[in-house]
Symmetry: C2
């Protein structure tokens, strides 16, 4: 990827919104491109970190695993999303695993050079505070889902969230596999399939491959809030 | 509380570590003292936020509730800990509830004045980035616990965490009630009591009121990692 393209990616990364062209140049100068194959590990929990990453092209999952091999997805990120920043600002090790779900081009930003930049550019530090706060907000929702909601409610919440993200009312496109969706919602694929079937029978949704038609907005909102699917 | 005392609290708050006396003065000038009775709400999820808080004296719990009244504790904080910062940097509403567990003196820092300070003092923004990162790290552990670990394993992890926090090897002091501990670990008091009893029978711990003696460090580490309590 020529230098110009790294700069283009950085210019449309929300983390760098509002920065001047000179500031974007400074960041471009420290960014390093890395390529990953589908399924390739980017880092493992406990690895020493010397910087963080931004998705250029592709898709990355951030996840935890148990000793028995069970997996909990924390995030799935596409172009423009930063990941792995926690050890830039606290501790020195990555708190989770990162893996490329498809062939991906990733930008790496070395810790020391980035911290130098952030201390010179207050708007960059405000953007980073915004990014970390947004992630804390998402985690409180994920903890609420895992602890206080049943799986049908988590799925309804996720479909409503996707509809907002995709700017649609009556239809969403799943951009991850059903297996990954199960892991994101803290369940197993068999349970998720049963819930999809039951929600279809109850005319809440209609599944058409990767497209999910949302047939009953009020019913889905109720399910997301109350947590129980009628028998 | 006289002005001097607010300044003393701020001087020993880790968030403000490394700041100059002048910078601490600036923060003292914007801080407002508020008092809360035991059990009094500080803010509710969804409330509009116009600033964040620091525990002066007392103890605060940050938590989510379900429609059915089930509760999941996210954090329990004592003196020197900031809370409620998320809407200072993203969105405008608190993502969870905060309540004083005991009579508490709390410092309130108004959003706009604090953001002005942070953009003038890079070391303050680096400290805040460290604080939010540490909390992201804690949330990844909590999600892992809820999703991938059984309750005995969560309890063993928590006891090991407390021992590190309290700088002890063989004994920890619970600073929250058993009911709160159950909520923090995502379970109910009855289940927690059964697990305390079983771990006592297996000579992993001995419970003496608020004191928990850790009798078998290796056994506790194994339980924390592997997640199953032997039958």
């Amino acid at each position: 990827m020529p230098m110009q393209t790294i700069r283009q990616i950085l210019s449309i990364t929300p983390l760098f919104k509002g920065l001047t062209p000179d500031q974007i140049d400074d960041i471009t100068n420290i960014a390093v491109e890395r390529k990953y194959r589908r399924g390739e590990s980017i880092f493992m929990e406990g690895d020493e970190a010397d910087g963080f990453y931004i998705v250029g092209d592709g898709q990355v999952k951030i996840f935890k695993t148990s000793l028995e091999g069970k997996e909990q997805i924390l995030h799935i990120y596409g172009p423009g999303k930063p990941f792995g920043e926690v050890p830039v600002f606290s501790g020195s090790q990555f708190p989770a695993n990162a893996l490329a779900l498809v062939a991906s081009r990733i930008l790496f930003l070395p810790r020391k050079a980035f911290v130098d930049l952030i201390s010179r550019h207050p708007s960059l530090s405000m953007n980073m505070l915004g990014e970390l706060s947004m992630r804390l907000r998402e985690f409180t929702v994920q903890i609420e889902n895992l602890s206080l909601k049943e799986v049908p409610s988590r799925l309804a919440s996720y479909l409503i969230y996707l509809a907002r993200e995709q700017g649609t009312d009556d239809r969403v496109t799943l951009d991850i596999s059903k297996g990954q969706l199960a892991s994101l919602l803290g369940t197993i694929p068999e349970t998720l399939s049963r819930i999809f079937a039951k929600m279809t029978t109850q005319a809440l949704i209609r599944v058409d491959g990767k497209q999910i038609h949302l047939l009953d907005a009020v019913g889905l909102e109720d399910l997301a809030a109350a947590g129980k699917l009628a028998e």
